[in-house]
Symmetry: C2
Subunit: 600 residues, 2 copies
């Protein structure tokens, strides 16, 4: 490299006119006007129009014709004002041109497989295979730069609040947290395996026992799940833990973090304290423990109205312990066609919904295929409860609570989109609290709603010695934070009393030996002066995704995996030598039958 | 928790006298004086003496007697001045006492397996098993807090210099870099494996192709090596890469980083530009490519003096293409006993040194078992070359260059220690440059000195088409940074021309198919407008270790592994269920014979 840049491609302004500058960058578009060649030279910081004028330098002008898109070049030249009326107000360097006097070709480029600057419609797989080119687009660059800035802001916040960032191991020990661990066979200890951490939970708790008091880490975590669109095998967690705190302290701190983040990264002032909703209310009103509060359409339980109904569908739901719930699409009747309403039943089918009823509140009275089955009192009570007026449409579902919730939550979202109720840069935070400590599994046995280190609320502690029914009534000292209908984090006050922790393990059917095998050191640690402590883990990828207003997690990760957990750029995972497996004392035992393989 | 702290345990000063405060912390030592109990209450920030005085509060005084070391307590009380003459100037809170009026026991503690505050002589394995207690010692806490601060300072430096921190995958693809990859079997793609990265090398180069221009990452890296004391299976690297730069740019930036780091973390001004030494000179003068410049004892090659010697040992070395080199322990004759000199031969044995000769320069003339074999001219020339005067001791070795270098490097260090030449907080940085691009392997074939993406120096580029001998003459555009005799980082300008990269692969005997299989995407990427680029990776753990003046890497890592790559606290790696292995299509095939197992 002979011509080292004096400026980047986004830097020159009219103040620089008259200077001789050197730029390095990539060739964007080339245009020829009257024997003069104009090239957009770009880099991470922007683009500058460079001009190859034969009257200025015949030698470099000749070269200009050999340049193609994505060539890497260095140019030296004079900054001149653009001719009268030719300034481009859309770009920051739009007032100047650089007239090239010296030129150096730094690298050529084959024709890229897609137009980097206009890759919107390019197949996702092609972009992932050529990720290094996709990442050259200003859009992707700005996303990753935004992520880096936001992450640094978060770090500064914790450093300013006397947190200590501590790196915990990636080569850890398996913990059963509901999802599968990635395993790493050990060569030095053949037949044994490390596990990649699903979270640094046990380490951060032990750091509290160590007295670090305030720990955080931007931590890579791993889950070998069957992948959904928003999940990646590895993800990044803002992980923190504090000693001598109650849940209010953790929540207050996190709110301050989000005030700062939203202000610095989006210039938006959010209100604190944030709203808070109990798990029970969230499930009832929004059908979800991650309610989207950017729009209304709250759910109302109308089961009571139909306790003694003659209408078969509702009657069955009540009889089977289910419920009947409804949404009022207030004032939207005119914007809803019959087709819109009829489409709801097939829409809820994947969620096991059997059907969706509706009542259109016309000026001339309610219209619906089902009201003829209602008694007059039922209809009247229903309209009253739903605050139904002319112009409204009531959407009703009857089924198990779970199915009704899921379906109505999805229907809320569907209509919010349809009626364009979700505004850009609208960010609705809420805390969800008062989770049950345990959920009943399919056999009715208690399993942890969060993880087995979550503390019961102090006032419910006595119920730990109660019946199965009592156990399911216990509320945990846990809190989730929800943004725009996505859970972006969750945490809890942990158990710091080893006797309580042992009791929880017993309740969960983890016997002493298993507890010792899996969490032995934590149980030990709790006996050597563990302080009261609690914390949070935030899903960084998801926070960034929401702040950027994109709905694909791969937009905020430099080198994401596909839904099949492969990397199309590096072709990972790959095959390995027999020799490597021998060193690990491993053999591959693939099924011959591909069918079997697909089953798990 | 009822009594939440108003202050931490390191915070109270005489200004606080008269205030009522609440402290939370651990019970350190307890002392009873005339019916009054004094307890050192401590946390991460320090310790405060709290006083249980029956005249002040009879109730809490009774409790004081039940407290044991490491109990976790909350106390509320009044800040009072210590009695005349009782202030403790050694601790920052030494002017005050807190007289306890309210008390809350937050947790009890079993008697710890060792004295946390005086654990110096405790067996390393015990401390690793109870790592959460070892980390409660102020010494370990301060080390990890120092590390966190230094890491944050490094991050700020890069952010201030427009670097973008980008997280690269942990689940990657195997790259052959001389050490073994840790493998992660894929469940979704059975029979295939991810590899944990030995470094983000390929990703960062592809980020330069993407135009990020300045990338950095504090990156976790993994190497499945047989472990030595300073190595851990996972380690942290300050990884960076820059576009449109030459090696000078990278070096200058790194020097600025170290100026800032040394000033902020150690309050030491280091001089830049740092010294720089060629690989060849380093090997000759210090016997090492990571020379310790905190002391002298440079090596001198004296082979020429003995070209035609009759002294058998030297003669053989010359005949076999070896060398004869020497160190002058200038002025140290009086401090060296005959035993000190005789011990050198057994000392170099593990380095395959066959013997060490010495010449003591006495006032009355040289004294040595070997000088009788030298001609007069040889002796005279030797003394002249070595600047030998009365009071000196010359140490001589003759062997292959490799063995001579290793042995004399070790001897340098041995005497530096013996003569106490290494001062605390003496930090000697140097760059080592002009490495050969290739080294000859045992069969004389070229292998990369660094990694196969390192660029040759531009002036040596033509030698790539030359003979094997030519190839070994090529110098690389690489640079290592050395601190106090440890390589703390290294980097290079990379190859950005795909034709050169392909040529290097050919030279290394990596055929087209293998190159495509292993580095296909990088070769592709280099063809789509790769800018000139280069970078560095620094070993963060080692840097922190040296700055803290400790010689154990586990002192700067929260949860280190043993030399057998196990974690004594969590007992990782562990066994896994048959079911998990089935999902991964793996079988363990352990040898029955333990002997065989130990062989690899």
């Amino acid at each position: 490299m002979k011509l080292k840049r004096t400026h980047n491609c986004g830097e020159l302004r009219s103040e620089n006119i008259g200077e001789t500058v050197t730029l390095n960058g990539w060739v964007g578009s080339c245009r020829d006007h009257g024997g003069v060649t104009f090239i957009d030279l770009y880099d991470r910081w922007g683009l500058t129009q460079i001009v190859f004028d034969p009257e200025y330098s015949q030698e470099t002008h000749k070269i200009a014709h050999t340049l193609r898109g994505q060539y890497v070049v260095a140019v030296k030249g004079d900054v001149k004002p653009r001719p009268e009326g030719m300034a481009n107000p859309n770009i920051e360097t739009g007032e100047v041109d650089v007239y090239v006097s010296e030129f150096e070709l730094l690298n050529s480029s084959k024709t890229p497989p897609f137009d980097i600057l206009h890759a919107g419609s390019v197949h996702a797989e092609t972009k992932l295979k050529y990720r290094y080119l996709d990442l050259r687009s200003p859009e992707m660059q700005q996303r990753l730069i935004f992520r880096a800035r936001a992450t640094h802001m978060i770090r500064n916040f914790f450093m300013d609040n006397e947190f200590v960032e501590i790196e915990t191991p990636i080569l850890g020990r398996a913990t059963p947290e509901g999802a599968r661990d990635y395993l790493v066979p050990s060569r030095v200890n053949q037949g044994k395996f490390y596990a990649l951490p699903q979270s640094p939970q046990l380490y951060k708790q032990s750091l509290m026992v160590s007295g670090f008091d305030r720990y955080f880490q931007i931590a890579r975590c791993f889950r070998d799940e069957d992948l959904r669109a928003e999940r990646q095998p590895e993800f990044t967690q803002v992980d923190l833990e504090m000693s001598f705190v109650s849940s209010d302290d953790v929540i207050t701190l996190l709110e301050k973090l989000f005030v700062k983040l939203m202000k610095e990264m989006k210039d938006i002032d959010i209100k604190i304290p944030m709203t808070s909703i109990t798990y029970q209310d969230a499930m009832l009103k929004y059908g979800s423990d991650a309610p989207d509060l950017r729009f209304g359409f709250e759910i109302t339980d109308i089961t009571d109205v139909f306790q003694n109904t003659g209408f078969g569908v509702f009657k069955n739901a009540v009889k089977n312990g289910g419920c009947i719930r409804a949404i009022n699409l207030k004032g939207y009747s005119k914007q809803l066609s019959r087709k819109d309403l009829d489409e709801l039943t097939p829409f809820v089918k994947p969620m096991r919904g059997k059907g969706v009823a509706w009542i259109r509140m016309n000026e001339e009275g309610p219209q619906s295929p089902i009201i003829k089955f209602f008694s007059e009192a039922e209809a009247e009570n229903l309209y009253k409860m739903m605050d139904a007026e002319a112009g409204d449409v009531i959407i009703l579902l009857a089924d198990t609570e779970k199915i009704v919730s899921q379906c109505l939550a999805a229907i809320r979202g569907r209509f919010a989109k349809k009626f364009d109720l979700i505004k850009e840069n609208d960010f609705a935070f809420t805390w969800v609290v008062d989770f049950p400590l345990f959920e009943a599994d399919d056999d009715g046995n208690p399993t942890p709603t969060h993880h087995p280190f979550t503390s019961p609320k102090p006032e419910d502690m006595h119920l730990l010695d109660g019946s199965k029914e009592d156990l399911l009534k216990i509320k945990s000292d846990a809190y989730d934070i929800v943004l725009n209908g996505s859970e972006i984090g969750g945490g809890s006050i942990r158990i710091h009393d080893h006797k309580v922790q042992e009791k929880i393990f017993r309740i969960l059917g983890i016997d002493e030996e298993e507890a010792k095998e899996k969490f032995g050191f934590l149980l030990d640690a709790l006996q050597y002066g563990a302080p009261p402590h609690g914390g949070v883990a935030l899903g960084l990828d998801r926070v960034i995704m929401i702040l950027l207003g994109t709905d694909a997690i791969r937009d905020v990760i430099a080198f994401p995996k596909t839904q099949k957990a492969t990397c199309l750029m590096t072709d990972a995972p790959g095959t390995v030598d027999e020799e490597q497996l021998d060193e690990l004392a491993l053999e591959i035992s693939l099924f011959d039958d591909e069918e079997d393989k697909d089953d798990d």
